[in-house]
Symmetry: none
Subunit: 245 residues, 2 copies
Amino acid sequence: MSKKLIPHVIIDVREKKLIEIFKRKKESITHEVKQLDVADVVITNEVACERKEGFDFIASIMDNRLFEQLLRLKETYTTPILLLEGLNQEVFETMGMSLSSIYGALSFISYKLGIPLIPTRHVQDTALVIERIAYREQVKDNAPILSRKAPKGMNDNERRAYILEGLIDTGPKKAQLLIKKFKTPYNVMRAIKNTRIIYTKTGKPKGIEGPLKEIPGFGWKYLQKNKKILFGMENNAQKKIDDHW
Amino acid sequence: MSKKLIPHVIIDVREKKLIEIFKRKKESITHEVKQLDVADVVITNEVACERKEGFDFIASIMDNRLFEQLLRLKETYTTPILLLEGLNQEVFETMGMSLSSIYGALSFISYKLGIPLIPTRHVQDTALVIERIAYREQVKDNAPILSRKAPKGMNDNERRAYILEGLIDTGPKKAQLLIKKFKTPYNVMRAIKNTRIIYTKTGKPKGIEGPLKEIPGFGWKYLQKNKKILFGMENNAQKKIDDHW
DNA sequence: CTGTAATCTTTATGA
DNA sequence: TCATAAAGATTACAG
């Protein structure tokens, strides 16, 4: 499943500087040059970038050009990206635009328009960002959003607690309490399994009953969430898989 | 949402610098100080900001702290915002982190995680951005957000895999394989429990036998290490049970 | 996050 | 069948 393909992008003719840089990147990423109407760089059918240098960025805010471009970009590609290049001190000082306006525009684009905004220092960095995104989009298979890395040098009980930290609403504190009480992760899970939510006559959750009841800090919400994850069942259907022990 | 003349925000106690600045802004924006768990500044029930200074930004990438924070932020507020402060030349040069990593992280946050990212020069500008956004959210008539990516919190199966990543020698790949095969973390543990190490006649570990045998990538060492953690039994006891004919 | 080193499983091969 | 070597895949670690 691991093909050693290198990513490929399409760059607009007018992006001379960018093209020059990509020519030197042949080993890691390929490109073709085209006349593009609505973007500066196309990465996939869904992802495309607009590149803006600091001064031009400010200027294009003032004459409303920027927002027109971005809206068109958004209409054409599901994931447009704005690469904001070299927005440094000098740009802020030179241009006759108020701080409020500049940051107002940044906020608007990023959080109101919902267009990913990535700042870079200069063209080289811009190219690097494009390369990284193209790589993620074309080569790297969908990696999970978040992966864990265990701190180095754990002893057995630290490791046992660490496993439990993957549970919902479970930090180091609760994890250690659980291990201290039940010794092993497997026992903890059985304890969770054998603890039930008590309901009032009107059907509202009132509290819990079982092994977990003996430790403070664990309530019905904790049980509800984690049972679903651990055992894949809704709390109602619990009896069904009542294992004997 | 009530129309107020002056917007109001909640700032975390630890943000000393920010608080100082907001004290001087009394005329245009009010604030209160609280102990916040998942954000640095709360603007509305839906909008909250995480503020990161350049140095801390890099550092928090390396130990995965940043991504955990951002994911929590995302789970708590529908519109989380990352204010990236003072990511200047000095930061790039000082920290021993590769360009690829830095821009990889920026791309990941902005376009993969879908969290609005706004660069600022320093705390004063950060405060200004917060003020702008608060004004927009609370005072100005809310123009609806054009389109925002669906929040990408962890779904159940991602969470299940995430728990298993706490096991030894278990990364995203193996965790996903296990969940795909056994559906729930609890089932995975039972599968591990029911899989045994097979020994040669000379007493050396040869392979494994049981449910886990059906998925590639899991051998006797994996079993040995994780059984000890999960169930607290030494591999010797396992060996004793081993019957070879 | 990225890139590299270390580790494990699996396949191949010979005793 | 067992033991060893090499290849392929994944995780662990450092920056």
